[in-house]
């Protein structure tokens, strides 16, 4: 432990960040920044002396840091200023999508991961999981050093033992297998290959827990290249997605969201909006944004694609494109859709997320027939983000079964948990002669491995990434490793007998292999430095153009008539938690699911009709029985799901979640955040199977039976529509005018379409407006058309503002602390619903009702239009929260503990950690505003939009949030406010909010009148109202 502390504050030489004291007052330091250099008068001198004294006293008072660290730098590291953040461009490691990350470091430690604005793929966005990965760095339960058979061992000992063991294997000619997720790093891939080459029988098996192997296999079959195309949603005018949640969790959701959003811009000079049709069996995030959404059964995916292919190739109805199995209404809609696709040849895109080989081949056929290859999807410069081969995995499992594997090295994957159906049990792993596990945590696989060789967190390591062919990026460490972990790159070299530093290995590889492909004529050093600074570089070259082979389309397999009582189990990844690798992460566990708004647990989603048929409602526990395995889960009624589907989220029920048993405030009424088995949620993996060389996320023929018990779901939103229950609805008041939506047709005619009749707003005030806001007047504008509800902003806000995690029980008690929430509303009847997302944060009203009622002036208005919350002043009457029409205020019901010294390193030093009994809420990231103003003053420039990005805006992949000075007519926010779509929530009660929303526009043919009729008859979606 002492050993580690020495490392916290020292900056890595390469990254050159950091300062000595970690307990100083950040604001005092800012005062230093504000003062022009060289002007030290008596007052300043005394202030400085006082600061130095108090900083020393506070730092000393912390008790944890050794004394020498309080001393100022003897040699000040170049480019660092205490209290000022340093940003490092890097590659996010939360999944294999390889989004560009900007790591914000304060005093030598990363405190926030943001999107890299210039990154060509992610375009400045970063998803919830990427934001939350920061917490993984400071996870006190990470493996802190190497172990042999459970004993802590120094790396030298591990290397010695492993070299000997590998030598044995080498001499015996045994099979060595490396099992990993997709490796997007060319350097690491090369090292793995070199490592395996030293053995007679070495192979690298790649498995992606969220497998899309069917797409690669299909391209192998149809185009002769087993690749994953790079999808270009920005270039597609007609998007058809069959079971692909490309905005939520599929392959590279941030890049796809950014591109999708770029294709749907309504306020530019030439407004454009792609037409998006979603066929899906459950309500995915992508489905909520679709212009048209069709419910299909999971096994209908290939039928739909087959019928579409027939219509596009002009062979509709003929064998093999029969449409017999489709319902008439679906056929009619396919007719129209095919026409639209044909009209948009080369400007359309059909994607399929199903692990059905036939469906994927049909999908390729359609895209080829539409001439989309090379335009909206690229296989010449394919995506490298998923390279998994399920067939190879099945082969490895067979080898393990037969005991033919002499050594297995597992990198960054938890196969015991993540390979479905329990196919890779701990016993199976033990049949390998040697199991070396390079993971980060003590998980299911670690228990079965003899050697634990923990890898660095991605923020600690040097590595590179090539997420799409021809686009490379460098990952640089943002701090020196916290624990005695070691980069896998270094481990592999050590085991090959040629120990090398990761940095040297990386640089050498880049000099020899990457630099020759560079598009610049610069020297290698310049190329390297620029890439390091920018975070990415473009490379020449690509694969040879593959063209469609003449592969006959097989006749459809006979689909057995579904048993009317049976369900199809669909396992899906949840935004944030994904395949479950982030299950340890409390921010993501507490992030409400974008659609169901449930936190912490997984559950069995049933459609409204299915729930009715089974006689169950939210929270009723059902038993999902697949014959050979079963699990019991509470029901969550999900409108818009297919009636024969029961959908369960992947990634739950991991041993890593046992840590949450004690989470949350301690009092006698507390209920644990884990279930009876001590884990969060249930693992759906045992019910899934690997069939015909593909991991299937569907399981046909499962039975769902109510058990009669109940579990209360921890849901942050219990009422799901903006229509009030009809029996409580006053005349004309069924639908609340808080979220406006319209169709593209209506919008083209009238930009103000969708707005209800404006109420006369009473302009008078009881109290004079004593804040003229002559300088800045901060405001925000949220584009509801762009917002996908992905929740990236929620986690970004949580990370930026030190928002505590409260645990499942407190969420059930409706006391989650998120400053920013995303309201999700259904409209429509039963399972035929539309979904709207509405981010909701403090509206910073200019006529704020919270300000009047506070007896102690703890919430006051600033001259810049902010509604400021003064924590020190607050006595906690909660009157302000009661009197907030938007219910965005959050109260510290308890002391939310920050006890762990390692985990506390994640706290943003610019933001106070609130004590119990104090109200808090969105501050528009006032700390960033202050910093921007100081910086602008120092530089003598005007404060611009780019300088004042709140955390939520910074991370939004869709660019839904604009923030800036409403007094500046050139600011993005002013332009949005001036647009026809602008409206303010609850404008009629005259709070004069500073947050503006832009009407949600759907690309629909249906006209306004029809839409209104629909709303007027809208009823409760699902009996959800509580």
């Amino acid at each position: 432990m002492r050993q580690h502390e020495k490392h916290y504050w020292r900056s890595p030489d390469e990254a050159s960040g950091g300062s000595g004291a970690h307990c100083g007052d950040a604001r005092d330091v800012d005062a230093w920044i504000e003062a022009p250099p060289g002007h030290v008068n008596r007052r300043d001198f005394l202030k400085a002396a006082g600061f130095a004294l108090s900083a020393a006293a506070t730092a000393g008072g912390c008790g944890k840091a050794p004394e020498q660290h309080v001393l100022p730098y003897l040699n000040h590291p170049e480019g660092t200023t205490p209290g000022r953040a340093a940003f490092y461009a890097s590659v996010c490691g939360a999944c294999e999508a390889g989004c560009g990350a900007l790591v914000k470091c304060r005093d030598g430690r990363p405190i926030k991961i943001e999107g890299l604005p210039e990154h060509p793929l992610s375009r400045g966005g970063l998803c919830a999981a990427g934001q939350a990965a920061l917490l993984g760095l400071y996870d006190a339960q990470r493996l802190r050093g190497a172990r042999i058979e459970g004993r802590d061992t120094p790396w030298s000992g591990v290397d010695q033992a492993l070299r000997a063991r590998f030598e044995e294997v080498r001499r015996a000619g045994g099979a060595v297998r490396v099992l990993s997720r997709t490796v997007t790093s060319p350097t690491l891939q090369a090292s793995i290959d070199r490592f395996l080459e030293t053995f007679a029988d070495g192979a690298h098996v790649v498995y992606d827990p969220l497998s899309v192997a069917a797409i690669l296999d299909a391209h192998g079959a149809t185009h002769g290249a087993r690749v994953l195309p790079r999808y270009r949603f920005d270039r597609a005018e007609v998007i058809v997605s069959v079971e692909a949640d490309f905005l939520g969790t599929w392959i590279s959701p941030v890049a796809f969201t950014a591109a999708y959003s770029a294709g749907r811009r309504l306020d530019d000079n030439g407004p454009k909006m792609s037409y998006h049709v979603q066929f899906e069996s459950r309500m995915s995030l992508t489905g909520t944004k679709a212009d048209e959404r069709r419910r299909i059964a999971p096994d209908e995916a290939s039928s739909v694609l087959r019928a579409l292919a027939g219509r596009i190739t002009g062979e509709a109805g003929q064998s093999p494109f029969s449409e017999d199995s489709l319902k008439a209404e679906l056929r009619t809609s396919l007719e129209a859709l095919a026409k639209r696709l044909l009209d948009a040849r080369g400007r359309s895109l059909v994607v399929c997320g199903s692990q059905d080989a036939e469906a994927q081949r049909l999908c390729n056929l359609i895209n080829e027939a539409l001439g989309n290859y090379g335009k909206t999807l690229d296989i010449r410069r394919p995506s490298m983000q998923k390279q998994g081969n399920d067939a190879a995995l099945a082969g490895l499992l067979r080898e393990l079964e037969e005991g033919r594997v002499a050594a297995l090295v597992i990198i960054g994957l938890n196969p015991v948990y993540e390979i479905p159906g329990g196919a890779c049990s701990a016993e199976l792993l033990r049949r390998a002669g040697l199991v070396v596990y390079c993971g980060e945590r003590e998980d299911e696989t670690a228990a079965a491995a003899q050697f634990l060789c923990p890898d660095h967190h991605f923020l600690e390591s040097w590595l590179d990434a090539e997420p799409v062919s021809g686009g490379v990026a460098l990952r640089q460490p943002a701090l020196r490793p916290l624990f005695q972990t070691r980069s896998v790159l270094e481990s592999l070299h050590a085991w090959m007998g040629a120990p090398a530093d990761a940095y040297d290995t990386l640089r050498a590889y880049w000099r020899d292999h990457v630099y020759p492909r560079a598009t610049t004529a610069d020297s290698f050093d310049t190329f390297w430095n620029r890439t390091l600074h920018d975070g990415f570089a473009r490379l020449r070259g690509g694969l040879a153009q593959a063209s469609l082979r003449d592969v006959p389309v097989p006749d459809p397999l006979p689909v057995p008539d579904p048993d009317p009582a049976a369900f199809t189990l669909t396992a899906y990844p949840k935004v944030g938690l994904l395949d479950g690798r982030h299950a340890y992460n409390p921010w993501l566990q507490e992030l409400p699911d974008p659609v169901t708004k449930v936190t912490w647990d997984n559950y069995a989603c049933l459609s409204v009709a299915a729930a009715k048929r089974l006689g169950v409602r939210d929270g009723d526990v059902v038993r999902i029985d697949a014959g050979d395995a079963a699990l019991e889960l509470p029901v969550c009624v999900q409108p818009g799901q297919h009636d024969r589907v029961v959908a369960v989220a992947l990634g739950y029920g991991q041993t890593a979640t046992a840590r949450f048993a004690g989470l949350g405030p301690d009092w006698f009424g507390k209920r644990a955040s884990v279930g009876e088995d001590g884990l969060v949620g249930k693992d759906v993996g045992p019910l899934l199977r690997i069939e015909e060389g593909l991991v299937r996320y569907e399981r046909r023929g499962v039975t769902v039976t109510p058990t009669g018990t109940r579990v209360e779901l921890a849901c942050t939103q219990t009422h799901h529509t903006i229509t009030v229950p009809p029996r409580l609805a006053p005349a004309g008041g069924l639908r609340r005018p808080i979220l406006h939506e319209t169709t593209l047709g209506a919008f083209a005619k009238d930009p103000k379409a969708g707005h209800p009749h404006a109420h006369h707003i009473f302009e008078g005030d009881l109290y004079p407006d004593d804040h003229p806001k002559r300088g800045h007047h901060w405001g925000m504008a949220v584009d509801l058309t762009a917002c996908t509800g992905c929740g990236a902003c929620v986690v970004a806000c949580q990370a930026e503002n030190n928002v505590p995690v409260v645990g499942r029980d407190e969420v059930r008690r409706k006391r989650e602390m998120h400053w920013l929430r995303i309201d999700r509303y259904y409209s429509g009847e039963g399972d035929d619903v539309d979904v709207a997302h509405q981010p909701m944060m403090c509206q910073h009203c200019d006529n704020a009702s919270c300000e009047n009622v506070c007896p102690v002036l703890a919430t006051v208005h600033t001259e810049e239009g902010l509604n400021a919350q003064v924590y020190n002043r607050c006595v906690g009457t909660r009157y302000c929260a009661n009197n907030c029409a938007y219910k965005v205020r959050r109260f510290n019901w308890f002391t939310y503990r920050h006890d762990d010294p390692v985990e506390n390193l994640v706290l943003n030093p610019d933001v106070t950690v609130r004590s119990r009994g104090v109200m808090e809420k969105c501050s528009f990231c006032v700390q960033r505003l202050q910093e921007a103003k100081i910086e602008a003053k120092r530089l003598g420039v005007k404060v611009t939009d780019a300088m004042t990005q709140p955390a939520c805006q910074q991370s939004c992949p869709a660019g839904a949030i604009a923030f800036g000075d409403m007094n500046d007519p050139e600011s993005a926010v002013s332009k949005r406010i001036a647009s026809g779509r602008a409206f303010r929530v609850l404008d009629e009660i005259n709070q004069r909010p500073s947050v503006t929303y832009l009407t949600l526009v759907r690309n629909r043919a249906s006209d306004e009148a029809e839409n209104h009729g629909r709303d007027a008859h809208a009823t409760e979606g699902s009996g959800h109202h509580g």
Binding site: H719, R727, P730, V875, N882, K887, F891
Partner: protein
């Protein structure tokens, strides 16, 4: 020279002659000395077992409540059932409930005094004591409902070192602070001033000892002289005049906590009169509850008679009807306003998740008090006792309904949430009853529960009209019989 006031024709309000045709307010042909003996005897004898038992029970409940509050203070407001949507529930419900209870005392002691309602003399002492104790219970809640109650003094506007910050005079909570502290001060003053002649009586009767010393100190050298009485009556009249506006102002300001907000169901101009009427309604019910017990237990049947009960029941009918009218008016206003949020709140009250609470409120406050229109019900003390408790249950629910149903479903449906109280909140409410009854039981034991001096003023003894013979005259027979019947 105890508490026998000098009588001058027309000198004092208390000295008015008794109309011979009416039944006397005080039964049993009391002479002034009998009154002193009767009331003081209660203090001078040893406490009964019943008294001890009651004290033990109520102080136990008080202790439990204190433990609950202690736990909450140590742990956080999170031990209550309140949440991000329903920020106030039991706490402010109890606060308004207790403040309302207090109102009857002030009304009886001040307004009825100014209106020369002689029957008030039998109940005003107890009612004023009740006011004080109820305000104490009420005052507890704004304190403990704070997130950081140890900083409660930040809402006092006094010169301080907390920087340039001051209190927010736009906040109804600050107004509340002034209203309640003023109310408590004036009520305590009024009660104490009214007590002085009686304290002197006790002093004069007490043997040398602690009691005598204490009473001598607190009776402020009262000598019963003509001049003392004149001064006393002037002060009392002035205090009554001061206290009178408070009857209206306190609950008006409490109602502004809600009325000045923007929450549908709170934001309504009808609240001040509605709250004041409700407060008097519940206060009178509580006085009845207490006095009916005291009457039975302490043998005060001659002092607190069926006529008193009858008069108070009539006030309950009037105020109860005002409250009922207010309920209807709220619905009308909502319907007429055309404001869908407002309309929804009221439909939701009557038919939403808390409809049970709403209908308890309506049943207890509007329906059941209608029984008091019947003379036979008013003369049936068991029925009156039961109804008085029912009214207080109803009035507690009224505040609960106003606070919780308005908050739990306001503007944005995404934030709608339900509220369920926790054990701690229930124990805290019980604890305030413990506090109230402990104080009241101690009061009954150590201070004259009936204003001796004032009651003497309404005695029929020694009036110009001939006293009623022991063999009752025909004129009064039927009335007396009726009362006797009722009593047996």
């Amino acid at each position: 020279m105890g508490g026998t006031p000098m009588r001058r024709k027309g000198a004092g309000i208390m000295a008015d002659a008794q109309a011979p045709l009416r039944t006397p307010w005080i039964l049993g042909e009391k002479r002034p000395i009998d009154v002193s003996n009767d009331i003081c005897a209660l203090l001078e004898r040893k406490p009964t077992r019943l008294w001890w038992a009651a004290l033990l029970a109520s102080s136990t409940v008080l202790l439990i409540g204190m433990l609950a509050i202690g736990y909450q203070m140590a742990t956080g407001i999170g031990v209550w059932g309140v949440n991000r949507t329903v920020g106030w529930a039991f706490d402010i419900t109890n606060f308004v409930f207790w403040i309302g209870i207090g109102h009857a005392g002030t009304l009886i002691s001040a307004i009825l005094f100014l209106f020369r309602q002689k029957w008030r003399t039998s109940v005003n002492r107890a009612a004023e004591a009740m006011t004080l104790f109820a305000v104490m219970c009420a005052g507890l809640f704004p304190l403990i409902h704070m997130g950081r109650p140890w900083l409660f003094f930040w809402i006092f506007p006094y010169p301080n070192y907390r920087g340039p910050l001051w209190v927010n005079f736009r906040s109804p909570l600050v107004w509340d602070f002034f209203a309640i502290s003023t109310y408590f001060t004036i009520s305590a003053m009024f009660w104490y001033v009214g007590l002085i002649p009686d304290l002197a009586t006790i002093r004069d009767r007490a043997k040398a000892g602690l009691r005598k010393k204490i009473m001598a100190f607190f009776s402020l050298g009262w000598n019963g002289s003509y001049r003392t009485w004149i001064r006393y009556e002037v002060v009392y009249l002035l205090l009554a005049g001061l206290a009178t506006p408070l009857v209206v102002s306190v609950h008006t300001i409490v109602s502004w906590d809600f009325a000045t907000s923007i929450i549908p169901g709170w934001h309504t101009t009808i609240f001040p009169p509605y709250f004041v009427a409700g407060a008097i309604f519940s206060g009178f019910a509580m006085v009845l509850t207490l006095m009916l017990i005291a009457r039975k237990v302490m043998g005060l049947e001659d002092y607190f008679t069926l006529r008193h009960v009858d008069a108070m029941c009539k006030i309950i009918i009037v105020t109860g009807s005002i409250v009922g009218l207010a309920y209807l008016t709220e619905f009308f206003t909502a319907a007429y306003s055309g404001n869908p949020y407002e309309q929804f709140v009221f439909l939701n009250r009557a038919m939403g998740p808390y409809a049970w609470a709403y209908w308890i409120m309506v049943t207890c406050n509007v329906v059941s008090p209608q029984l008091l229109w019947f003379r036979r019900v008013r003369a049936n003390l068991v029925a009156v006792f039961a109804l008085s408790i029912v009214v207080n249950i109803g009035m507690w629910f009224e505040r609960f309904v106003i606070i919780v149903t308005s908050l739990h479903r306001d503007y944005l449906p995404s934030s709608w949430a339900d509220y369920t109280p926790t054990l701690i909140e229930i124990l805290t409410l019980l604890g305030t009853f413990g506090l109230f009854f402990t104080c009241f039981i101690l009061f009954c034991r150590f201070l004259p529960v009936i204003a001796i001096a004032e009651v003497k003023g309404v005695l029929t003894h020694g009036r110009s009209a001939p006293p009623l013979p022991h063999s009752q005259s025909d004129k009064t027979r039927h009335a007396s019989e009726a009362f006797e019947e009722a009593r047996t």
